[in-house]
């Protein structure tokens, strides 16, 4: 990557910025250390989304989180997507930019889903070269997030954590660790989530996601429509032990509650982190 690499800062405890809360945030300026925005929501020409984005940015640090980079797709990287991403980053100067370790479609179609990749050498090489292109274009390191998955490919040669680690190391990118997704996948694929945590390189874990999910028959679906559950909180404390304090945010995409309720949940995360700190000292 061109340019000097700086270590990204610790931001504290953040929330996902959702249109439902725009007005309330501006009126009350709640105690939230930072907001994570969904980049694609602001790929518009003007009006309400950008109006609120600029106003809220004035009061809070932000990070950009995308869903359509499709870093693992065998289609060429979408240049106009990258252009828009860069333009938005110039507008709001985010602390960092993240997307998912997945693919979202091929043949110029978008399934608008975070589809898993096979854990193979071929996929690693493919993703690594694309991450490098994206980082060169944006002039900064990006974060890749682990997605939840419901299938295992016959062709996979590695575990998910080996796959993620290998890509992060070779592409020299950072990791956005979704604690809930690890939990969901560990349940669906019958592995020990702590094994996953222990395998990751500490220096590359830059952010945590916490979220809720729902059960469907024998599987857990990562729906982001409910509160964080007890088992995910437990895994979060394990992650704190493993990685130390990492910028943490609560991600809610559906069934979005009032801001005050999310703030309570965020406080819970803070308390877990504080307890962990006491243990450490």
């Amino acid at each position: 990557m061109n340019g000097v690499k700086h270590k990204l800062p610790y931001l504290g405890f953040g929330l996902g910025l959702r249109p439902k809360h725009y007005q309330r945030i501006l009126e009350t300026l709640p105690t939230v250390d930072w907001f994570e925005i969904l980049s694609e929501n602001y790929f518009v020409d003007g009006g309400k989304p950008l109006y609120y984005l600029d106003k809220i940015r004035h009061h809070y640090p932000m990070v950009m989180h995308g869903v359509s980079l499709s870093i693992g797709s065998t289609d060429p990287l979408n240049q106009s997507y990258l252009q828009q991403l860069k333009q938005l980053s110039q507008r709001i100067e985010p602390m960092w930019i993240s997307d998912h370790l997945c693919w979202t479609g091929i043949n110029q179609l978008n399934m608008h889903d975070l589809l898993p990749l096979p854990y193979t050498e071929e996929a690693i090489a493919h993703v690594v070269s694309r991450v490098q292109q994206v980082q060169d274009f944006l002039g900064r390191q990006i974060l890749l997030e682990n997605v939840s998955s419901y299938i295992t490919y016959q062709s996979s040669e590695l575990t998910e954590w080996e796959f993620l680690t290998e890509i992060a190391e070779r592409a020299d990118c950072l990791i956005l660790l979704d604690i809930n997704n690890i939990y969901v996948s560990s349940h669906n694929h019958h592995f020990n989530p702590e094994t996953y945590l222990q395998a990751l390189p500490k220096s590359r874990v830059q952010q945590f996601h916490l979220a809720g999910h729902s059960y469907h028959d024998d599987y857990i679906i990562d729906t982001h429509d409910a509160e964080v559950i007890e088992a995910v909180w437990r895994l979060y404390t394990k992650a704190l032990q493993q990685f130390g304090l990492v910028s943490t945010m609560i991600e809610r995409d559906d069934n979005i509650p009032e801001l005050t309720q999310l703030l309570l949940e965020l406080n819970q995360a803070k308390q877990f982190a504080e307890t962990y700190q006491h243990h450490e000292t």
């Binding site: 950008l50 043949n107 399934m111 679906i221």
Partner: protein
């Protein structure tokens, strides 16, 4: 299996095309295999149908949840998303409704889709300065005949036979919809953004004419045409009133003076 072939197969499966994808995954038995795959297929359909439902709440209210979902499934099959933002997934919905049986027989659905999509377009269209009444009054009377106006980029115009605006309001308030009313003549509508809020109102034929004339021609040429509706001595006053109204509605972006060419 190589990455590209795997992605081809997976996507074909999601799109409901024939695919060997089920053989590419590990499963403890057939049921497990089918259930795991179905999670992805269901998620794909549900996610995009819900996007469509949010973009077209009035059509959902007209058809009901179940029929809307059936319609959404057909649309998704015919028009899979080419966009990296779901914002534009529903862009061809009005066209789809106008050309696909049995929906094409129902003008109401097509008109409602056009109306709701126009609201969305106005909502996040480009920002632009607004010409104030004060700026307008500073134009010297000598220059008025040469005046040409530029309108705000959020403005959308369309014509509707049905009372879509009333259905839309009821749907927004979660009220039960009254039977739609179809008029003998189509009504022109104007949709635009005032600041960050969406507004809409109907237009008279005279306003529609003026709206187009003042953008493509000049004030004096617009006035010539207004004699179709007013006596000649009334025309200047009526024309200026109309422009003042546009100005108060925050519709005008800018003006320029056009020297007449013969």
């Amino acid at each position: 299996m190589k990455l590209k072939a795997l992605q081809q197969d997976f996507q074909a499966y999601l799109l409901g095309q024939s695919s060997d994808f089920s053989q590419a995954i590990v499963a403890s038995n057939h049921k497990d295999n089918q259930q795991r795959l179905a999670i992805y297929k269901n998620a794909y359909q549900i996610r995009l149908i819900e996007i469509l439902r949010k973009d077209y709440p009035t059509i959902n209210a007209i058809l009901g949840d179940k029929k809307f979902s059936q319609l959404g499934k057909k649309y998704l099959k015919a028009m899979p998303s080419h966009y990296y933002s779901v914002r534009y997934f529903g862009q061809d919905f009005a066209q789809f409704l106008a050309t696909t049986p049995p929906y094409q027989q129902h003008l109401l659905l097509h008109e409602t889709a056009e109306f709701e999509w126009a609201l969305g377009k106005a909502l996040d269209a480009k920002d632009a300065p607004i010409l104030t009444l004060q700026q307008l009054t500073q134009i010297s009377p000598d220059n008025w005949p040469k005046l040409q106006l530029k309108f705000h980029p959020s403005i959308q115009t369309l014509t509707l036979y049905h009372n879509v605006n009333q259905l839309w309001k009821a749907a927004q308030q979660d009220q039960e919809l009254q039977p739609p009313v179809k008029r003998a003549q189509a009504t022109p509508w104007l949709i635009w953004r005032k600041g960050i809020e969406i507004h809409f109102r109907s237009m008279t034929a005279m306003e529609v004419y003026s709206f187009h004339a003042i953008q493509s021609k000049t004030f004096s040429q617009m006035c010539e045409g207004l004699t179709q509706w007013y006596d000649e001595e009334q025309v200047p006053v009526k024309a200026i009133q109309l422009i003042q109204q546009w100005c108060q509605d925050l519709l005008i972006n800018d003006y320029q003076l056009i020297n007449a060419t013969c």
